[in-house]
């Protein structure tokens, strides 16, 4: 694996047509180091979360993941069997090799804009549905607007992460 010279933390935007859960576009991921580029669950590989992910580091260096190769299984044989027997083979972890491709630099204001777009598209991920109903219901649009305002005030990717975690990520 040839690593781009990332300065962590790195923010990732992923797009997947095979993801089984909620929204499939422009979803957020955060990385503190290389560890999670070197191992992934079978579920994440099936959902093709990594391939095509746009990664932007703390200095604006931007890259994408062109391909992901499985290198070997990290889950022990007995645990793998147990997971398969219980229908949880998506939880088996593999060592992976990612092929990166640098695609220039991104200004921090563009990172903020992308994060805000992601919040618009996937705001539902940040709340429990029970909080959106009833007499004291949280208005999703208001909550997303609060998160976006907070992201606009951030000065680094680390700060974006901290602010989103504080607001329910």
């Amino acid at each position: 694996m040839t690593h781009p010279a990332f300065v962590f933390p790195v923010i990732g935007f992923w797009f997947s047509e095979t993801y089984h859960g909620q929204g499939k576009t422009n979803r957020l991921e955060f990385y503190d180091d290389w560890v999670l580029f070197e191992q992934a669950s079978q579920g994440d590989l099936e959902d093709e979360r990594l391939v095509g992910m746009i990664l932007i580091d703390s200095d604006g260096l931007t890259a994408t993941i062109r391909s992901v190769n499985r290198m070997g299984c990290l889950t022990s044989a007995w645990k793998r069997r147990l997971l398969r027997l219980t229908g949880r083979s998506r939880h088996v972890f593999y060592m992976i090799d990612c092929e990166f491709e640098a695609i220039g630099r991104t200004a921090f204001s563009d990172v903020q804009r992308r994060v805000c777009k992601s919040l618009d598209e996937n705001g539902f991920d940040f709340v429990d549905e029970e909080d959106l109903v009833g007499e004291q219901a949280l208005n999703l649009a208001d909550h997303v607007a609060r998160m976006k305002a907070s992201v606009q005030e951030a000065r680094s990717i680390q700060e974006i992460y901290d602010r989103l975690v504080a607001l329910g990520l």
Partner: protein, 184 residues
């Protein structure tokens, strides 16, 4: 009485003696039994119950990432139900029988598919209170509407099936008490 088979047989017997009301009731019961069986089978096919933890509704992102570093995939109940197809993307998972805020019931009980009814946001909102859509405030559902919309299909079929079977059993006991004979 054996579900589906028993009601179906009773319906045929009622037709034979030209008891059309009884035939209609028993046919309805057989249909409700089919719905109940279908709901149970499709629930099992999607994965049944969430056996492995965590059972919390949603796992915070920092915990998910920390688990990934330990080579573990942490999935809250909501995400698991989305992946298994119990709740469609964009739909809400309504805690039907046990409110999510009922702290005395453990998550591993209340956050299971049989107790979650997938519904769209508007119906879910109107189940809990007034709900505003595009600036229009829609009123809360009345008690009957709430019962209908908030109850999952398997439980609706279960209500009808158990009430109907109970009723026919009581009717049969009364008929036996009067020594009435009926064609079986």
């Amino acid at each position: 009485m054996i579900p589906i088979w028993g009601s179906g047989k009773e319906a045929l017997a009622d037709f034979e003696v030209e008891n059309y009301v009884g035939a209609a009731v028993n046919t309805g019961l057989a249909v409700s039994d089919v719905f109940l069986a279908k709901a149970v089978v499709s629930g099992l096919a999607k994965g049944g119950l969430k056996v492995a933890g965590p059972h919390v509704w949603r796992v915070p992102y920092p915990e998910v990432k920390a688990a990934q570093r330990r080579k573990e995939k942490l999935q809250g109940a909501r995400q698991w139900m989305g992946e298994k197809g119990f709740v469609k993307p964009g739909d809400h998972g309504h805690h039907w029988a046990i409110p999510q805020k009922a702290k005395f019931i453990p998550d591993w009980v209340k956050n299971q598919p049989p107790f979650i009814n997938p519904m769209d946001a508007v119906k879910h909102g109107r189940t809990h209170g007034p709900y505003t859509v595009d600036g229009v405030k829609l009123p809360r559902f009345n008690a009957v509407e709430r019962l209908w919309h908030a109850t999952p299909p398997w439980a609706k079929a279960g209500y009808i099936s158990s009430a109907g079977h109970g009723g026919t059993a009581a009717g049969r006991a009364a008929a036996d008490g009067r020594n009435e004979r009926r064609v079986r």
